[in-house]
Symmetry: C2
């Protein structure tokens, strides 16, 4: 049982605060952690980073920046300010990467939102360079195109990366968002060719899905060929973590220690 | 107020049986009707067709065939048999077209399902030819890729049409399923070039969407640029109906006469 490439997002075990999560993950032999920003509220971020390193947890990324599009100049500026704050938080924590959920504004043309996203990333790149923080554009499932992201396919994420053409700008590929895409293999191949596949997230798609946001499954519970997509990802030379990111009141309501065991089991059997 | 290209799907006014729907639609000056097969259960289908024509309602299509993929040979055969039945029903009704919701099987690779879909359509084509019935492949939103359709983009629908290369096989474009697609304009252009855009369905995408199946909005309630997509569609030379297809317990629970008025108003203002 090799858990040296297993990473958990703190949201996956939502009932656990950061202190409990780090002890539990480390105790379970999990190697990596992606910290959601809410878990750092009212904390000394640098100290949390130290505590994670003391437990030999590799800090994979800070989640999340993004939400660049807005209808007003003030809104655009506020988004950029928040993303700069996220970079400072990542630097304080010692996270080498920020996941970007790029954002969308209902009713605004997606092409306009995509332009604002590219402009927003360009605006924060100097600060990202200063701290050496990688920015991972995460394409979101098309069912989030109204208000969460105007970047809904790997092709669209690749296009933004092409446009920005910067070694700190890459892609976070999450099976939940991309599994259905007929063009997936080719687009993943391109991310490898361009050395921009920064992160790989896993979970599963439930049938039926009863909630657009919070009904993700544990790997093996749904219809996604996680192992097949992981093979595509690793064929590009990717050697990073398999990050388990599950939003599920069904799982959050259970005993989280038992859930952690189930995650490890699912990781071995289905990833 | 021109309603000569307005068509309603019987599902849109779900509380009305076919007899009531046809009287109400005709009374409201609506020109077209797409009949869902459930509305024909226990009816003399040829007689319903006559009643619709007596009311000067143009029968736009029969909805729906499809669901070709299956894990067993028996399942595949049953699907083809049901689609042949749909062709007989369309012929009896006097509908010139059947909408195909192509189907998917959770856990089966989408590429395999797409092969079964193409094979299934090929298998029913001789009977479709015999009756002169057009088959409209409807790409479904990627959130239905688990169990409703392995055809989730216009590009994927175009690929199946290319493969079958038959004048009776085309595409039903529904704004709900395709509005988010960065490649939409180009793919619609191709449907025009290949003379395969058979139908155009309208509704809206609600923010938030509270149910994956039954939370469609009336045009103008959500974020879809229906008028912009209609312009793309008509730029191909499409002169068919704008078919209103809304699944919504929220609307079904209201007075359906008032809903019909709201549909006409939304059609004028947002389509």
């Amino acid at each position: 049982m090799d858990f040296s490439r297993l990473c958990l997002h703190t949201i996956t075990t939502k009932p656990w605060a950061i202190e409990e999560a780090m002890d539990k993950y480390a105790g379970a032999g999990i190697a990596g952690i992606t910290v959601w920003r809410q878990w750092l509220a009212d904390r000394d971020i640098a100290k949390v980073g130290e505590q994670l390193r003391e437990r030999n947890l590799e800090i994979v990324s800070l989640c999340r920046g993004g939400f660049f599009p807005a209808k007003t100049a003030k809104g655009l500026e506020e988004a950029i300010a928040d993303n700069r704050l996220a970079i400072h938080e990542a630097a304080a924590l010692g996270a080498p990467m920020i996941v970007l959920v790029c954002g969308a504004v209902p009713g605004q043309p997606l092409s306009e939102s995509r332009k604002q996203i590219a402009d927003g990333i360009a605006a924060i790149l100097p600060l990202a360079e200063e701290h050496g923080i990688r920015l991972a554009v995460e394409p979101l499932h098309p069912m989030y195109a109204d208000d969460r992201s105007a970047v809904n396919t790997m092709a669209s994420a690749n296009a933004i990366c092409d446009q920005l053409d910067h070694p700190l700008v890459g892609i976070a590929a999450d099976v939940y968002h991309i599994w259905w895409d007929p063009d997936l293999a080719e687009q993943i191949r391109i991310t490898g060719e361009k050395k921009r596949l920064f992160a790989f997230h896993v979970c599963d798609w439930m049938t039926p899905t009863t909630d657009l946001l919070n009904d993700r499954g544990l790997m093996g519970e749904g219809c996604i060929d996680v192992r097949g997509i992981r093979a595509m990802v690793e064929a590009t030379g990717f050697t990073g973590f398999n990050e388990v990111e599950i939003f599920s009141p069904r799982w959050w309501s259970k005993n989280q220690d038992e859930f952690l065991d189930r995650i490890k089991q699912a990781y071995v059997e289905h990833c």
